[in-house]
């Protein structure tokens, strides 16, 4: 077990290195730092001095991979690749293009993201599983057919519609909660209700359908037939046998996204102007702040890979048949 975890942890490095290379090529090789400087300073009327000043301030004036002007290790260290990409491995995010400390921003902004993402996930999970169980329970009646149709219809609605419609209906017409904004501490709750609600509702269609398939797959298995043959009631079969066995794929599906919850949701956060990591990323994209986008790409990949590792470990915990070797 420990051996396996160590091996997986070591495997993370080549993966992250790959991610790093891809982002490096995207940000520095496809377009040179000069291009980025021009983009920021304005396209046409920009002097060479302004461009080089912009580059020096942000440390983009170094060579890409190899610095001949330095001595010894400095040849590899004093380069853009080392300073901007490799330093990400030490979680040194450096400064954004307009001079803010990215690590501090991330540390501050991940909590609002989590405050929305975690309740949305838990409530959503409960809602989806209960609906799916209901649909499986009534699987032979017309109700199930209309349930599936409703799910497909809900799935076909754009996520933007849920947000805009929800804001309009709950925030503007009914005036139950503020439309957008955020506060510190417990005062934030009234700002969180609507985004969480919308997060849950927008996921119901696809979530319910997915869990329903899992349950239906489970319900055709032999042990379920045995349970019924023993004379167990349908509810007992559903809850004690089907639900418990279907929990394995459900749990592992959830575990993989757990670390990513910190990243927040791009859409929800920007619509509700919540100062989380999602809106941070969107602002960075809109302001074309490459340093932040680069850091977020790395952070996102890191969390995802970590999630994969957690999934593998959780397999062994919930399913005794799986042994890692």
């Amino acid at each position: 077990m420990i051996n396996y975890v160590i091996r997986r942890l070591l495997y993370m490095f080549p993966l992250l290195l790959g991610v790093n290379l891809i982002t490096f090529v995207l940000f520095f090789v496809v377009n040179s730092p000069d291009d980025m400087a021009r983009m920021h300073l304005g396209q046409k009327y920009v002097t060479e001095e302004a461009v080089s000043k912009w580059k020096v301030e942000r440390g983009y004036d170094l060579p890409l991979f190899w610095n001949d002007s330095q001595e010894g290790v400095g040849k590899a260290e004093k380069t853009i690749f080392f300073e901007k990409s490799v330093s990400l491995f030490m979680l040194k995010f450096g400064r954004s293009d307009n001079g803010r400390d990215i690590a501090a921003d991330i540390g501050q902004r991940m909590w609002p993201s989590l405050a929305i993402a975690l309740p949305s996930l838990i409530i959503g999970l409960l809602a989806n599983i209960s609906f799916a169980l209901l649909m499986v329970f009534f699987r032979t009646s017309r109700l199930a057919f209309w349930g599936v149709t409703l799910c497909v219809a809900l799935m076909s609605i754009s996520g933007l519609f849920y947000i805009i419609g929800g804001q309009f209906l709950v925030g503007k017409l009914l005036m139950l909660v503020p439309i957008s904004g955020y506060d510190t501490g417990f005062a934030a709750i009234k700002f969180l209700i609507l985004p969480v609600l919308i997060g849950v509702v927008s996921g119901i269609g696809s979530g319910t359908r997915w869990y329903r398939t899992l349950f239906l797959e489970e319900i055709e298995k032999d042990y379920v037939r045995t349970a019924r043959a023993k004379g167990l009631s349908e509810t007992a079969v559903l809850f004690r046998h089907v639900l418990q066995n279907a929990m394995i794929p459900i749990l592992t599906g959830v575990v993989v996204i757990l670390p990513l919850l910190f990243m927040g949701s791009l859409l929800t956060e920007s619509f509700f102007s919540i100062p989380g990591l999602g809106s941070y990323t969107i602002d960075a994209i809109n302001m074309q702040d490459f340093a932040i986008v680069r850091s977020m790409v790395f952070l996102g990949s890191l969390l995802y890979i970590f999630g994969l590792l957690l999934t593998d470990i959780s397999y062994t915990l919930v399913d005794p048949r799986v042994r890692l070797s």
């Binding site: 080549p14 993966l15 790959g18 991610v19 891809i22 982002t23 995207l26 940000f27 496809v30 377009n31 291009d35 980025m36 021009r38 983009m39 396209q43 497909v152 219809a153 799935m155 076909s156 609605i157 754009s158 996520g159 933007l160 519609f161 805009i164 804001q167 309009f168 503007k172 990513l260 990243m263 791009l266 859409l267 920007s270 990323t281 969107i282 994209i285 809109n286 074309q288 490459f290 986008v293 680069r294 977020m296 790409v297 996102g300 990949s301 995802y304 890979i305 994969l308």
Partner: protein, 460 residues
């Protein structure tokens, strides 16, 4: 005639699909699952709706420069499509600013100078919407009359189409009469009743819209006075492009890597697995954002390569499809690898190996055809997700070019107007309802295809 990259590719794709369909129709084992799709009522109804969208999208993909000697039309030097030509009145009828659906007056009050020199603060009449009305009081009855006229034409068109089809199919009158009863009862194996009713509905809608659109703005006008209905129709092409061209990018990658990894195993498998784990661990939106940002920088620095605005927008659309394809092939690749791993242990593959068939031949003849159902199912499932993704990406400003008509851009520009009082809702409504129709049809069709092709579901 002018051919954009996306135009060429979409027609290439359409031809490829037709060829595949023609091939499939000649082989019994390929025809069987399709017959099952054809018997699915919901699936066929959604297929008809999808085809309707596809026809509009294809018509919108044949571009040419309008005749310059017809001086009456406004000439901007931009190429227009066959579809633009068809809907010319609503393309050119631009108002000053917002107006509500079916309105005959602008949405906001203005200073109007009357003929006698007096200046009044009122809602001015629209330049085109309801302009033919002398008395605005009869607007409602006028709309009703136009709709009724359109519906009559639609009914006529539908009768013409269905009866000619019946004539071609059943030839003799007695046979037609017998089959008519079956169709009306819904007793035919092909759900003809549902299909013809869908066609009836679509033709009624189309013909009434055609009657109404020259005189009214069906979905109102947007901030700069452009007809929202026209924008929504034009967006169909963008949606279809994103949904299909991405597949074109994704498919070769997923197929070749998936099969190679599953078939050769060993270090090939390791490398390919490493490749797709790395790619899939980068959050998709961020990778797309990074790539689009870089493309913007490139385009800004190489303006001379993009001669016209339309060409630039087209390249951006193509690039978006490319990026979406690169971010989305990993899922399918994983599935194909697993399936190939299973298939290569099958007896018929072993037999082929034992008889000395070359590996390349085994791959093409024994492995590839058996992966077809996975590919097909994942393509149709991805389509609707991609159409929805376009709207989100355009909202984040990393989607299609802002000058391209797309539902995402419509939503993006209309979103801020929700704060207005009274609300400007029609742009959003039009974009969402068009998108919903297309995605719902695609989802339902995908379900039908999956039911027919997935061996785990094909119980009968």
């Amino acid at each position: 005639m002018v051919v954009y990259w996306t135009d060429a590719l979409i027609f290439l794709l359409a031809i490829a699909i037709l060829l595949l369909g023609w091939r499939a129709s000649r082989k019994e084992h390929l025809r069987r699952p399709w017959r099952k799709v054809a018997q699915n009522r919901v699936g066929m109804v959604s297929l008809v709706v999808l085809l309707f969208f596809v026809v509009i999208g294809l018509l919108d993909s044949i571009h040419f420069y309008p005749d310059l000697d017809k001086g009456s039309e406004q000439q901007s030097g931009e190429a227009i499509s066959l579809f633009d030509k068809w809907v010319t009145p609503i393309r050119l009828q631009e108002e000053k600013s917002y107006s509500a659906p079916f309105a005959s007056r602008l949405f906001a009050k203005e200073m109007i100078e009357q003929p006698n020199g007096q200046v009044v603060w009122d809602y001015p009449r629209l330049k085109y919407g309801g302009a033919h009305l002398v008395d605005e009081g009869v607007k409602k009855s006028d709309i009703l009359a136009l709709t009724a006229g359109g519906m009559l034409k639609g009914l006529g068109f539908w009768l013409l189409v269905t009866s000619s089809f019946a004539l071609i199919r059943w030839r003799s009158l007695s046979k037609m009469r017998r089959n008519l009863g079956l169709v009306l009862n819904g007793a035919t194996t092909l759900p003809l009743r549902a299909i013809t009713l869908t066609i009836l509905f679509l033709s009624l809608c189309t013909f009434s819209a055609m009657e109404l659109a020259p005189h009214y703005h069906l979905f109102g006008t947007d901030k700069v006075g452009q007809d929202v209905f026209y924008q929504a129709l034009k967006s169909i092409r963008t949606g279809l492009m994103i949904g299909t061209l991405t597949t074109l990018v994704m498919l070769p990658l997923a197929l070749s890597f998936g099969i190679l990894a599953g078939f050769f195993r060993g270090w090939v498998d390791d490398v390919i697995q490493y490749l797709y784990t790395t790619l899939s661990s980068i959050p998709g939106v961020l990778l797309i954002a990074a790539s689009i940002l870089m493309m913007q920088v490139y385009m800004a620095n190489h303006e001379e390569q993009f001669a016209s605005l339309a060409l630039r927008a087209d390249m951006r659309l193509l690039f978006l499809c490319l990026i979406l394809g690169i971010t989305s092939w990993t899922g399918l690749c994983r599935l194909l690898r697993a399936e190939t791993l299973k298939l290569r242990e099958m007896e018929y593959v072993q037999a082929a190996t034992a008889m000395g068939v070359k590996r390349g031949v085994i791959l093409v003849r024994h492995i590839l055809p058996n992966l077809f159902h996975i590919v097909l199912i994942s393509i149709v499932l991805d389509f609707s997700a991609l159409v929805l993704a376009e709207a989100v990406l355009s909202y984040v400003n990393i989607g299609v070019d802002p000058t391209t008509n797309s539902w995402g851009n419509m939503i993006n520009s209309a979103r801020l107007e929700m704060a207005r009082e009274p609300v400007v809702w029609w742009s959003l409504a039009a974009a969402f309802s068009f998108m919903f129709t297309l995605v719902l049809a695609a989802n339902l069709f995908a379900d039908a295809v999956r039911d027919a092709f997935d061996p785990r579901r094909a119980s009968d």
